[in-house]
Amino acid sequence: MPDTAKLLEVDDVTIRFGGLTALDSVTFDIREGEILGLIGPNGAGKTTCFNVMTGVYQATSGQVRFDGAPLAKLKRHKITKLGIARTFQNIRLFKSMTVLENVMVGADAHSKVGFWDALLRTPRHRHTEEESTTRAKELLKIVGITARHDELAANLSYGDQRRLEIARAMATGPKLLCLDEPAAGFNPAEKVKLMDLIRKVRDQGYTVLLIEHDMRLVMGVTDRIVVLEFGRKIAEGAPEEIRDNPAVIAAYLGVEEDEDAS
């Protein structure tokens, strides 16, 4: 297990929606440079966990710290600027913008260009624009949809839309890239390609948090895994440990009597 600095710490986080406890005292952390898998059956609280980290929800109690600083009360776009980027389980692209423009919106996250720069076409505007374009094109190349950069996002195939989401998130220059079920709806061949892509992304220096249903994919690509069930963390460890963990097996396959129900 790589023993690098903690990038993100989820510290005793609880979230309640009325009477429903979506997350119950969950604690784990993500270390720099690793690929962490967050798994669990449907409704276990994986996406809720994501939403706390990206500022969509506020924790009822507990704290999320990024690079040592608490995230609570920060505006969502500020959190993105700090270095957390995400994709969405149900694809949320800017549909009537082109592929390149979608990525450039992400790349603009750190841009200081404002209205006057744009109106007066200052040198700063020109530089930033060139940089963003170059960067966006590089990212499209990494995820492998360069050829379609001028297409409308809505006209891409499902798989390409997922790839575009990854490129757009990477464009914001994150330290931590959160992928919310990136393989949903993929066939096995596409999943293999996605695994390669995720590794490639990590090798570029990003830390990756991966929410995924597909066990093979999660086992094949992650360094560590955190398992949630009913809002509680039931296990944490390397993929091999998780695979043999009785609690995890029970959560996924049910207890022994129901074993054939898988």
Partner: protein, 402 residues
């Protein structure tokens, strides 16, 4: 087995689609030209538009009502549509009370140049724009936190509040309105009624007898006299402002700002999570839209008649502004301007049917909403998406009948 001929995948035959294709063709051909040609072409087009009220092309010119005045109204509506297009078309904020900003701009000009002070028009103009922009920020700061329909209702209320306030505040002229609003300053010798029309020189207009034109020196336009006699100089001034705004719009749209607007319109949450400070950009769009509305209002107040009253700003006109943007093609600046011009021009051209014009207008809008919900000239990308949809539909329908 007979091979069923696959139906050729062609563009949809809807004439409005063809309008879009034709427009694409025009743009493509223009883009392919060498730079020098482009400049010449644009200048020629601009010159033509400037000269339009003097040329008075038959069929287009209105004979029952002063054509210069109609052209002024067209340019005013085009400017308004351009401003509202930033709010509705780019940022996706439905603003039903845009007339409120128009009124604020007009009244600021009225108060500064006539009712309480006697500032020259060109000094009052920037102040009017600034005041309107500030109004936009004041209205937008609390209300842009609500989304969708709520915003529409709030802005609707704003438009009505402004009119009712003006009607009841003595300091703003109440129901009687403000008259004798300063015209823009005349360039060249001032007119000395009744015989000296003033101005540097006179430009005759064309008079058409069938298709043979002749010069009409009787009704010459005096350059550049802003008086009560002739609306054409006002048209020229407004058109110049329109061109400046158009250029600004183009620059800002093709930048980070434009992308942020569009991303916010498409999916506000996703935009926020991609690092777009959506509130800031919504407020910016709202304030810019307001400023352009105020600019247009200032020109309206100081136009030929130099008179405004609360009745000049009914809410129905506000809907007309929105209609102009939607009819023309929300999100495309040329589409919006075409919409503005049509909305201003058609009722004047067909004054003969004056009694029925609202009825006809309503019918036309309904038909358009059904057959062409994205407007006459939507952004190219919307057309592309639509075309692709139609193509897929055709392909899907094709083999089934075999």
């Amino acid at each position: 087995m007979t091979t069923t001929p696959t139906p050729p995948v062609s563009a949809p035959t809807n004439p409005l689609f063809r309008l879009g294709l034709w427009w694409d063709g025009v743009i493509d051909r223009y883009n392919a030209l060498p730079r020098l040609y482009k400049v010449v072409l644009v200048l020629a087009f601009a010159l033509f538009v400037y000269a339009l009220p003097l040329v008075r092309p038959p069929l287009i010119a209105t004979d029952r009502i002063d054509f210069g005045g109609v052209m002024f109204a067209c340019a005013a509506y085009a400017l308004i549509a351009l401003g509202l297009n930033i709010v509705i078309g780019y940022a996706g904020l439905l603003d039903l009370g845009y007339i409120g900003f128009y009124a604020v701009g007009a009244y600021t000009t009225g108060v500064l140049t006539s009712y309480h002070w006697a500032w020259p028009f060109f000094l009052a103009l920037p102040v009017a724009v600034a005041v309107t922009m500030l109004t936009g920020v004041i209205l937008g700061a609390p209300t842009l936190r609500v989304r969708g329909d709520y915003l529409a209702i709030v802005t609707l209320g704003f438009g009505e509040i402004i009119r009712i306030c003006v009607k009841n505040i003595e300091w703003l002229g109440a129901s009687a309105g403000i008259k004798d609003i300063n015209h823009p300053n005349t360039i060249g010798p001032a007119p000395k009624p009744p015989f000296d029309p003033g101005g540097l020189f006179a430009i005759p207009r064309l008079e058409w007898n069938g298709i043979t034109p002749s010069l009409d020196h009787e009704h010459a336009t005096h350059f550049l006299v802003f008086g009560a006699r002739d609306a054409i100089p006002y048209y020229w001034l407004l058109l110049t402002a329109l061109i400046v705004v158009l250029l600004g719009d183009r620059l800002v749209k093709a930048s980070r700002v434009g992308r942020a607007w569009e991303a916010t319109r498409e999916d506000e949450d996703a935009a926020e999570l991609m690092g777009v400070p959506t509130f800031k950009y919504k407020l910016m769009a709202f304030a810019l839209g307001a400023a352009i509305g105020g600019l247009s209002g200032a020109f309206y107040a100081s136009s030929q008649s130099g008179y405004i009253s609360p009745d000049s700003f009914p809410l129905a006109t506000s809907f007309l502004f929105v209609a102009a943007v939607i009819v023309g093609g929300s999100g495309n600046r040329w589409g919006a301007m075409v919409g503005g011009v049509l909305v201003a021009y058609l009722p004047e051209r067909f004054r003969d049917f004056a009694d029925y014009r609202l009825l006809v207008f309503g019918l036309a809008l309904t038909v358009l909403a059904i057959t062409r919900p994205e407007g006459l000239l939507p952004p190219r990308r919307t057309r592309r998406a639509k075309m692709m949809e139609a193509e897929i539909e055709q392909l899907e329908e094709g083999p089934v009948d075999a």
